[in-house]
């Protein structure tokens, strides 16, 4: 929602950044190694035929061929084509490397204070961070760099996570609960914690992050594999189409030189998309990183593009997280003050925003004085299972919480069925209908009243969800609220569906159910109890502030811990697929013009009638062939920025999007080379190159 909030921590390098371009030029030559190139079949084939023509050129030079200058130029441009393809990949990798270097600088040779025994936090030995093993306990004090990923098992500390997230404001990390995870490379600012290391050397979050942005362990994604197969198939078709030509020419009483044949072949095979394919994939990951989202695999990014259903937590995503108490409505027979006192006491130990707002309300509006809690009072913390919190003070058992949970509590306490006062139900319904959250308040077997919590929907979410709907994505709001409240907020926010009074099990069930209907689900979460759902979801974005368990379960981590980013993640996934599709279409569409350039030139010697096909009016057979080859090479360079930036995604529906891309990359792909080849031909002729 608030995209402006996204911190662009990663250095944004441009194409012309010499720090990237210069090494990339070097890399372009290193990548000529056939063992590297074989991973990209189209480019490998290109290299093979290029080597072949080079050998033939050398033979012709030795034996004294007739059109050496022409052959030399063809061979040079063929090598350029291979190099340009390598350059595209190297630039994409270079941008990732620049980011990785930034990360590496933070990973200094950290020393760790490893505890000698678990029961004595005072005795430790100092070891290198690299020597830590999973399960080791380390102690970190103010100023220490946390040596590895782990969970706090003791203590509270404020931690500066800027190295990972770019956010310099320290965050609180404490043992137990959902904020117990710490990341290697971050710095403890205050206090002292004991951390159980959960990662082995080289597998920490920081290590993985470096590898990811470098693209070092990049594996082809399923869709990329499918596309590669398609490109290999097309290449083979063109092998058949060109390899048979010499025989046909022989029948017609002519002959075709190998160089010309290779030129036709190379311009026909999908070199453009073949050259840019891996750059597109690397750039897609890179775009996510720029959004401060780390995808654990390219597969996850692709899956993001396919997502059908988004599960969004209401709080923080759809509404401003803090629900505030605005009113306490007692049931008949209970005074306002009595209810307010009970509410205050029940919330006394409640440090949540809601709890604090109840205390504030009781004090300000109902003038209840806050006193020290009675001795021996036992506070009941809120849990997702009971959905109640409160206090047991002597015989008084005060509870506040979800309405049905409060009712259940009252019944249990009373030992029999307790009639729900009509006024209570009326108040609850009224609050719920208004979009607020009713919080039940009870003492032992008696209902005291209801607290009205107001939940404010963020102003721009409705447009956002409408855009998602146009993308074909269903939004589902997850909330602990009761169904009436949930429905009210759902309609205000414009989500398609909601799960009210959701337990972690509900989430998991919902995801499984959607998946069994063939849908792909994305969700984000941070708590340990989100872990199963995160693992089950096709795209699970864990918050960096979340628990280690959640971060392990998800396949992406959002360093900004901003749940609304799920939407950008989906867009980036779509952009990745679109860029591949559009450039494939462009690449194939280009072939039409190349045929019209080369076929008449190729057969001119024995079928001059075919000159009619030279609709571009290219000046000579040699210049026609050379121009086509030059165009074929230059278009790769010209498209590198697009491959890195990605084709723009707009949520206008699939049909409109297709029409638009088809027009630009399909029709454009047919028309552009006619113009380009003609222009190059004019230059080639003017320079007397052919």
């Amino acid at each position: 929602m608030e995209t402006s909030k996204v911190r662009k921590r990663m250095p944004v390098s441009t194409l012309v950044d010499p720090k990237i371009v210069l090494p990339a030029i070097g890399q372009s030559f290193v990548k000529l190694d056939p063992r590297t190139l074989v991973k990209n079949p189209v480019m490998f084939v290109l290299e093979v035929v290029t080597v072949l023509t080079t050998v033939l050129l050398l033979r012709d030079i030795v034996q004294g061929g007739q059109s050496l200058a022409f052959e030399l130029q063809i061979v040079v441009w063929l090598w350029f084509t291979v190099l340009f393809a390598n350059f595209a990949e190297a630039v994409a990798e270079g941008r990732g490397k620049a980011q990785a270097d930034t990360l590496r600088q933070t990973r200094t040779q950290t020393r760790a204070k490893r505890l000698l025994s678990a029961d004595n936090p005072e005795r430790f030995e100092t070891v290198a961070a690299d020597d830590l093993r999973s399960g080791d306990l380390v102690v970190c004090e103010a100023g220490d760099v946390i040596p590895g990923d782990g969970d706090i098992i003791e203590g509270v500390a404020s931690v500066n996570e800027a190295a990972i997230t770019g956010e310099s404001a320290p965050v609180i990390r404490e043992s137990g609960g959902d904020r117990s995870a710490v990341t290697g490379g971050t710095t403890v600012i205050s206090d002292r914690i004991v951390v159980r290391i959960t990662s082995s050397p080289g597998t920490s979050f920081l290590d993985r992050m470096i590898k990811l942005v470098e693209g070092a362990e990049r594996q082809k994604t399923p869709n990329e594999i499918a596309l590669t197969i398609l490109l290999v198939g097309l290449t083979l078709i063109f092998v058949f189409a060109t390899a048979t030509i010499p025989s046909y020419a022989l029948y017609a009483g002519g002959s075709i030189s190998v160089v010309v044949l290779v030129a036709l072949f190379v311009t026909l095979i999908p070199t453009t998309i073949g050259a840019l394919l891996s750059a597109i994939g690397i750039a897609g990951m890179d775009r996510l990183v720029r959004f401060n989202v780390l995808a654990m695999s390219g597969r996850a990014v692709e899956a993001a593009g396919d997502v059908d259903t988004l599960l969004l937590d209401k709080t923080g995503t759809i509404t401003f997280g803090n629900r505030l108490a605005t009113e306490i409505i007692p049931v008949p027979g209970v005074t306002e003050r009595e209810a307010a006192e009970a509410a205050l006491l029940a919330s006394d130990a409640d440090e949540t925003a809601e709890g604090r707002s109840i205390i504030a309300l009781a004090q300000d509006k109902y003038n209840v004085r806050r006193e020290a809690a009675p001795a021996g009072a036992k506070f009941i913390e809120f849990s997702a299972m009971t959905r109640l919190s409160g206090v047991d003070a002597g015989t008084r058992k005060l509870r506040k919480g979800a309405i049905d949970s409060v009712l259940k509590f009252v019944r249990e306490q009373a030992g029999h069925d307790v009639a729900e006062p009509a006024a209570f139900r009326a108040a609850v319904d009224k609050i719920a209908r208004s979009g607020g959250t009713p919080l039940g308040l009870a003492e032992n077997g008696r209902i005291l009243g209801v607290i009205h919590l107001k939940d404010v929907v963020k102003p721009d979410v409705k447009d956002r969800f409408a855009a998602l709907r146009r993308m074909g994505i269903k939004t589902v709001m997850i909330t602990g609220d009761n169904p009436v409240t949930a429905a009210s907020i759902a309609s205000e926010a414009g989500v398609d569906d909601f799960i009210a009074e959701a337990t972690p099990e509900d989430k998991l069930r919902y995801i499984r159910n959607e998946q069994s209907n063939g849908r792909l689900i994305a969700m984000c979460g941070d708590g340990t109890n989100d872990a199963p759902a995160l693992a089950q979801a096709d795209v699970g974005v864990a918050m960096q502030t979340g628990t280690q368990a959640a971060r392990e379960a998800g396949n992406m981590v959002d360093l900004d811990s901003d749940p609304t980013k799920l939407i950008e993640v989906v867009e980036i996934g779509k952009q990745l697929l679109m860029t591949r599709g559009s450039l494939t279409t462009f690449s194939i569409a280009n072939d039409v013009a190349k045929y019209f350039a080369i076929i008449p030139a190729m057969f001119a010697a024995f079928y001059p009638q075919l000159g009619v096909l030279n609709i571009m009016g290219l000046s000579s057979p040699q210049s026609a062939i050379l121009s086509a080859i030059i165009f074929n090479a230059l278009i790769i360079i010209a498209l590198i920025p697009l491959a890195l930036k990605g084709v723009k995604y707009r949520p206008i529906g699939a049909a409109a999007l297709l029409r638009q891309n088809l027009l630009v990359y399909g029709v454009g792909g047919i028309v552009l080379p006619f113009i380009g080849i003609k222009a190059i031909d004019v230059i080639v002729t003017a320079l007397h190159l052919a």
């Binding site: 399923p222 869709n223 594999i225 499918a226 596309l227 197969i229 398609l230 198939g233 097309l234 083979l236 078709i237 058949f240 189409a241 390899a243 048979t244 030509i245 025989s247 046909y248 020419a249 029948y251 017609a252 026909l268 593009g305 396919d306 059908d308 146009r470 993308m471 074909g472 069994s516 209907n517 063939g518 849908r519 996934g573 779509k574 990745l576 697929l577 679109m578 591949r580 599709g581 559009s582 494939t584 194939i588 569409a589 072939d591 039409v592 045929y595 057969f603 079928y607 009638q609 075919l610 096909l613 529906g653 699939a654 049909a655 999007l657 297709l658 029409r659 088809l662 990359y665 399909g666």
Partner: protein, 567 residues
């Protein structure tokens, strides 16, 4: 081109469109195992076959078992047909006293009929006995057609089913297809054809004394019963050498029109079966629309080229179009239309000699076959060839909208793309590869009837037709040589089965997938945009593959013709 000509073309299209849902609905019921109105007569026969074969009609097969059953069935068919051809001299129903067919020709012919190609390196009336025509060829006409239909149905089931392991039972499908679809139509159709003047007799050839007193031997035979399935099953193998141009094999303009309808009828209906089975008839209509666009374009070019005639004719002041190799009762329009239909489907019957067509008029049938006869496609390779192109189209288009591509609820992934490419690849390899060999192999060149680019076109047409299992020919080429008999058999065999096995593998893979419900983010495959895109992909992929060969054949011949050259 004349107005009455276009009226005939439009009438033809309208009737096909009207027949499609009718036949499609009926065929859907047949392949869903539902009872049809013919059950009282045919059900006992059906049950008898299942019982004798030990087939449980309720149990289904996975794609591999289905394919294996189909292949075994073909092995049996091949053995029977080859034996009949070799031994015909010693067998009954042979009033003309035909002797055994030589081994290489028998091999080529057996493969040819087995693969629904019906390429004929022989003249029917001068080579085969009535027994071979009936027991050998008529029966293969039925079975290769039924095989084509049931394979298409199995592939459709792959799209239609979700999380399924099976794609149907081959034995049940082939039996129901033969008994409930092909046979009943053929019975009625045969009688119609005889009424129109087609012979149906076991009597020997007629010796007539002409008005001028010369002797004329008139070949007859059980023609109508074979022609019915030849056309309906898009087989195309003629009883006579001149095929559907022979007055006995196509006596009137009406019989010609109905024959053209019967070529497209079942193929068009299969698109409707597809739509019905995947639960959205519009999906079927979209495919038919794409076929229709390609068809009309082909007809327009071919009709225009033939009506324009050739340079030789116009230089002699002869008007009225290119009548060389055409029959008066059909004229230009019905000949051009027939040529496009027979090659758009995998039929291959001809009512005019394609070899004598103008360069561009003859290029249209050639292109139709090069694309894999996906335009309606007949009952053979048609629908599944089209679906392979759909997979490629949807894959590229799907990417362009930013989703893993889906078609009728099935995600198109690496396996489907791999199999589709494998199948699509085989066409250019066989068509272009064999042509490249033949045009530089002197004995093969010697078979050409025409010199220059037209001779090249003859060879290209031959291998294109055989690979695509069409069977029509630029018939001047002398095909009955050891080289063409054997290389042709290879082309036909690979062209058929190298398509079928990947298509069936796709069927199996798709059936096992979950079905994805469509959303606004799913690219709609029922609208004009999809139809346009599909046509575009077919033309571009096909065009790019075959452009060099076409440039050296029909295109250069056309340009030479305009310049007044002869060869």
């Amino acid at each position: 081109m004349t107005a009455i000509g276009w009226v005939q073309i439009i009438l033809y299209c309208a009737i096909i469109v009207a027949l499609t849902p009718l036949l499609g609905g009926y065929m859907t019921r047949v392949f869903n195992g539902e009872r049809t109105f013919l059950a009282p007569v045919l059900r006992p026969v059906e049950v008898l076959l299942y019982r004798a074969g030990g087939v449980d009609e309720k149990s289904e097969q996975g794609w591999l078992a289905y394919t294996v059953a189909m292949l075994l069935f073909h092995v049996g068919g091949f053995v029977i047909l080859y034996a009949l051809l070799r031994l015909q001299g010693a067998l009954p129903f042979n009033p003309a006293g035909m002797t055994g067919v030589p081994p290489d020709l028998s091999f080529n012919t057996a493969i040819s009929f087995l693969t629904n190609t019906n390429w004929q390196n022989y003249g029917g009336e001068s080579t085969l006995s009535y027994l071979v025509q009936m027991l050998g060829l008529t029966h293969q006409n039925f079975l290769s057609a039924a095989t084509g239909i049931v394979l298409a149905v199995a592939l459709i089931r792959g799209f239609a089913r979700a999380s399924a392991k099976t794609v149907g039972n081959f034995w049940v499908d082939i039996t129901r297809c033969t008994l409930y679809v092909l046979l009943p139509i053929c019975v009625v159709y045969t009688l119609f054809l005889v009424w129109q003047g087609m012979p149906q007799t076991l009597g020997s050839y007629i010796d007539a004394t002409t008005l001028e007193g010369a002797k004329q031997t008139i070949a007859v035979g059980p023609v109508a019963s074979q022609v019915a399935i030849k056309m309906l099953g898009t087989n195309g193998g003629g009883f006579f050498n001149a095929n559907a141009a022979h007055p006995f094999e196509n006596p009137t303009a009406l019989s010609n029109f109905v024959q053209m309808l019967s070529i497209f009828a079942l193929g068009a209906a299969l698109t409707n079966v597809f739509g019905r089975m995947v639960g959205n008839p519009r999906q079927g209509w979209a495919i038919l629309a794409a076929m229709g666009v390609l068809f009309i374009a082909g007809v327009a070019v071919c009709y225009w080229a033939e009506a324009n005639g050739t340079h030789i004719l116009s230089s002699l002041g002869l008007s009225g179009g290119n009548m060389e190799g055409k029959e008066v009762r059909f004229g230009i329009v019905a000949s051009a239309l027939f040529a496009v239909i027979t090659t758009a489907a995998s039929c291959g019957a001809v009512n005019a000699m394609h070899d004598s067509f103008t360069a561009l008029g003859g290029m249209i049938p050639l292109i139709n076959m090069e694309l894999g006869e996906i335009v309606v496609g007949g009952v053979g390779a048609g629908l599944y060839g089209m679906l392979l192109f759909v997979i490629v189209t949807v894959f590229v288009a799907g990417l362009m909208v930013g989703r893993t591509p889906e078609y009728v609820g099935k995600k198109i992934e690496a396996r489907e793309v791999k199999m589709a490419m494998l199948a699509i690849l085989i066409l250019p390899l066989m068509m272009l590869g064999w042509t490249a060999v033949a045009v530089v192999y002197p004995p093969a060149v010697a078979s050409m009837a025409n010199a220059g680019p037209h001779g090249f076109s003859e060879v290209l047409y031959a291998y294109t037709s055989m690979t695509a299992n069409n069977g029509s020919a630029f018939a001047g080429l002398t095909g009955n040589t050891l080289f063409y008999n054997l290389s042709g058999a290879v082309a036909m065999f690979i062209g058929r089965f190298w398509m079928i096995v990947p298509a069936m593998a796709i069927a199996g893979a798709l059936a096992a997938k979950k079905s994805v419900p469509p959303s606004l983010g799913t690219f709609p495959t029922t609208g004009g945009l999809f139809v346009g895109l599909l046509v575009g992909v077919i033309l571009i992929v096909g065009g790019l593959t075959f452009f060099p060969a076409l440039a050296l054949g029909p295109i250069v011949e056309h340009l030479s013709m305009l310049a007044g050259s002869v060869f």
